[in-house]
């Protein structure tokens, strides 16, 4: 197929010129979630290793960035590094955290790892709430804005492009797109090459993989580390979008959300992770925005089914429905008029 089918992706450059801030922020959440979900999908979808600890690594990325880039104040510590360097350090830190877990990640298979990685969530929450001077404790900590090569990704400076004033979110949009694009390309490269085939074989036939000379434990540990670096990068973007990092957010529910994303989108594929992240992240936002127009959904705080609850029912049910009826996820949905018929091989 020609490269022309990738052209519609250029449309993603347009939103900052047309959409309001609400949608730009929602879009940035989607991008951050998509980066994290791509990482989790490499681990769970392609290698068959379940992880419930993904939100822990998101937290490491987010707080790593805040710590490295943040300034020293009365009750908070920070190194005050240049933000770009801080991003690299934060991702490396998340990778190191993943590597530190590798004695477990390499030896346990599948669901066993899933339960063991529950420990990361609870340990992580414990540490986040107790290391006050890094995380700011219960109330969290403000996130220093991104800055690269003298260009600040915040509301300062009068940047006007084609008559649109660019604030923090507009600028971050392009940064997010760039990061997501790079993350997706890298994951595609991993999946297409030898590592990807090794990972799939470990998932399907662990013994055969070992017999063929694939170092099973080492590969599992490496994929776990890679996926935690993806989570770290996603965490950084998440923190930049939120502009405040709160420990409570990185709990068990977030980890479950990421698992829901990759199942809904499609296990083991990059596009699946992106589709799932879009679905799970946008659904609550959509329901919140239009809650007064929807039946059965009441605005938050009025006692009825709140938009975020309604979203949970929907994507929880979507997970079950997709496992039952659409094993390839939403990605596996084919719209006949848009999809070319596959050449049948004789």
């Amino acid at each position: 197929m020609s490269k022309a089918r990738y052209l519609p992706l250029l449309l993603l450059l347009l939103p900052p010129f047309y959409l309001d801030l609400f949608w730009l922020q929602a879009g940035l959440f989607v991008m951050a979630a998509a980066i994290g979900a791509i990482g989790l999908n490499l681990l769970t979808g392609s290698t068959g290793q379940l992880s419930m600890g993904h939100s822990f690594f998101l937290a490491v990325g987010a707080y790593g960035y805040v710590y490295f880039a943040g300034d020293e104040t009365d009750d908070l510590t920070g190194l005050g590094l240049p933000p770009l360097l801080a991003v690299v350090c934060a991702v490396a830190l998340a990778g190191l955290a993943g590597l530190a877990f590798s004695p477990i990640a390499g030896r346990l298979s599948g669901v066993y790892l899933g339960i063991a990685s529950l420990a990361l969530i609870f340990l992580g929450q414990h540490v986040l709430f107790n290391v006050h001077d890094v995380t700011g404790g219960y109330n969290g900590r403000a996130v220093p804005p991104m800055e690269a090569f003298g260009f600040a990704f915040d509301g300062t400076g009068d940047v006007v492009v084609l008559g649109i004033a660019f604030g923090a979110l507009e600028k971050l949009w392009f940064l997010g797109l760039l990061l997501l694009g790079l993350a997706a390309l890298f994951a595609l490269g991993v999946l297409k090459g030898r590592p990807g085939r090794a990972m799939n074989l470990i998932r399907d036939q662990q013994t055969a993989a070992g017999v063929l000379g694939i170092p099973v434990a080492r590969t599992r540990a490496a994929v776990f580390t890679l996926s935690s670096m993806y989570a770290g990068l996603g965490g950084v973007l998440l923190a930049l979008t939120f502009q405040r990092a709160v420990p409570d957010y990185f709990g068990m529910l977030l980890a479950l959300d990421y698992l829901a994303m990759i199942v809904i989108g499609g296990l083991g594929s990059v596009s699946g992770a992106v589709i799932g992240a879009t679905f799970v992240t946008l659904l609550p936002q959509l329901l919140t925005r239009y809650s007064d127009a929807l039946p059965l959904v009441a605005p938050t705080g009025t006692g009825g089914v709140s938009p975020s609850d309604a979203a949970r029912y929907l994507y929880g049910a979507a997970v079950v429905g997709i496992v039952l009826f659409l094993p390839a996820g939403l990605r596996g949905l084919r719209i006949p008029s848009l999809t070319p018929r596959k050449e049948s091989t004789p």
Binding site: Y112, A116, A119, V263, G316, P327
Partner: protein, 295 residues
């Protein structure tokens, strides 16, 4: 010294409750090879039904309906999800997370910020024995859990149901050929697990815990490390793991004032640390079958 004894007894009692939950978890895994991530929300469901009905039906009546509700929910999950899903078993495990998300969202919406009592007859009374003070609920938990576990083990060993359950765990294809109805076995496993979880809910939420609220499921989650450190496919493992986790939690929680350099709320984290340490030494748990592949 009395403090240590008190803590140990509390730990054993808590551990026996965890063992009860972990037992159900292991039974499901043995019968269907699926890890049930919705187990904590089954427990919350049983507890919630009991809490709502105990005013009208009395404690035992409410509990009976709660147990039935959790058992029915378990059986329903088996009927709707497990029986139809053709996906890999670990993907089905993720699907139970979907069920967990829905059940948990609904139950925590209904609970809101309220703390409900399950109306147990022991309330906050204590027993004093030779200077050692123990809450009656803790004694009751120990006794009830011991009786239920003993009953379960006997049934597992001697009844036709238990024998077929073990046969299915050993080799499901052969046992199907021998005339064992696989669907019935796995459905009953899910129902039994749900019922055990509902009973455990009473003791998870009873004194000294304030009652059933949306965080009760966090306590129930500690049965996961209990099950896996004993070995997911071992009934003995679930019992030992549960007791180990319970005693650890009680001891660390009791002495946390001497351990403040590690931060507050250490009792809730300690079970997971123990799990990690044990898994580092024995990746398939204390009593789990080691994965051996012959080529």
């Amino acid at each position: 010294m009395t403090r240590l004894i008190e803590l140990l007894i509390n730990g054993l009692s808590l551990g026996s409750v965890y063992a009860l939950i972990a037992l159900g978890f292991v039974v499901i895994f043995r019968a269907t090879e699926v890890v049930n991530f919705a187990h904590a929300s089954l427990l919350l469901l049983g507890g919630y039904v009991t809490a709502v009905l105990h005013d009208d039906l009395g404690f035992l009546g409410g509990l009976a309906v709660g147990v039935l509700a959790a058992a029915a929910a378990g059986a329903l999950i088996e009927l709707v999800l497990l029986r139809r899903a053709k996906a890999r078993r670990d993907v089905v495990a993720i699907a139970t997370i979907g069920i967990d998300i829905v059940l948990m969202a609904e139950l925590s919406r209904r609970l809101g910020t309220s703390v409900m009592s399950l109306g147990d007859p022991w309330q906050d009374r204590v027993v004093v024995l030779g200077g050692v003070t123990i809450a009656q609920t803790r004694v009751a938990a120990l006794v009830v859990a011991a009786v239920l576990i003993a009953l379960f083990l006997l049934a597992f060993k001697y009844t036709p149901w238990g024998v077929s359950m073990r046969a299915v765990a050993e080799d499901s294809e052969t046992s199907a050929l021998m005339g064992i109805r696989l669907g019935r076995i796995s459905m009953s496993a899910w129902a039994v697990a749900g019922a055990l979880a509902a009973v455990a809910a009473v003791f998870i939420t009873a004194f000294p815990t304030p009652g059933l609220d949306r965080t009760s499921s966090i306590a129930a989650l500690k049965a996961f490390p209990a099950a896996i450190l004993g070995g997911l496919d071992s009934v003995t493992g679930a019992l030992v793991g549960g007791l180990l986790i319970g005693v650890t939690e009680a001891l660390v929680g009791g002495y946390q004032n001497d351990l403040t350099f590690l931060g507050r709320g250490l009792g809730d984290v300690a079970p997971y640390v123990v799990m990690i340490v044990i898994l580092l030494v024995r990746p398939s748990g204390l009593f789990g079958t080691r994965e051996v592949s012959r080529v």
